[in-house]
């Protein structure tokens, strides 16, 4: 079974600074997706960024980028120029291609942004 581990229950960053959230996963599959989701207090899960395992290039979305290390099964999220609106729970998630496409989530990291 696939597992996703987020070893940082909480992180904090100063506004305008950069922060990196860690994620490791375990799988025997070679073709899969990895995601970072943001969950603000409103509870709505919002997709931040997606990475396909067969793509070596790291995904980027504006201020958000990932460091995908397939051999190490590591998938970290870097948030640059942090903003107050970035404060939320962040979940790393795994999805195996070709199955029913159910997401497997980590336990999350609570990010606080200090003004």
């Amino acid at each position: 079974a696939q597992t996703v581990t987020q070893s940082q229950p909480e992180m904090s960053v100063q506004e305008a600074e950069t922060v990196t959230l860690s994620c490791t996963y375990d799988t025997s599959e070679s073709d899969y997706y990895l995601f970072w989701y943001k969950q603000p207090p409103s509870r709505q899960m919002i997709l931040v960024i997606r990475q396909e395992a067969y793509k070596q290039q790291n995904a980027t979305e504006n201020r958000f980028s990932v460091n995908f290390q397939k051999a190490a099964k590591s998938f970290s999220l870097k948030i640059s120029d942090s903003q107050l609106g970035d404060a939320a729970m962040y979940f790393c998630a795994y999805l195996r291609k070709g199955s029913n496409y159910k997401l497997t989530f980590g336990k999350g990291t609570l990010l606080t942004v200090n003004p």
């Binding site: 899960m45 029913n100 159910k102 997401l103 989530f105 980590g106």
Partner: protein, 113 residues
Amino acid sequence: GAGVSQTPSNKVTEKGKYVELRCDPISGHTALYWYRQSLGQGPEFLIYFQGTGAADDSGLPNDRFFAVRPEGSVSTLKIQRTERGDSAVYLCASSLSPSNEQFFGPGTRLTVL
């Protein structure tokens, strides 16, 4: 509608009661998922519908949990004889097809007293 909606937003019930939680997916989305998020945890998969049929219900914890999607759109998650351990946020997600992005609703917070 613009996004996935779930009703009610909050539900408080007593142990042993029956509850129904509703999910309205984005129009045209054929895939629908239910997840359960316990306090301090990430969401856990419950069931996946492709159209009207439950393609995978391996995440349902026991036979007190049941879900339907009779017309391939709205889905209802049904919990019989609720227990305090069922207290959680129940999230619904839909996608255009299984390989596309899942869009989540705001969830229903269920509290069993």
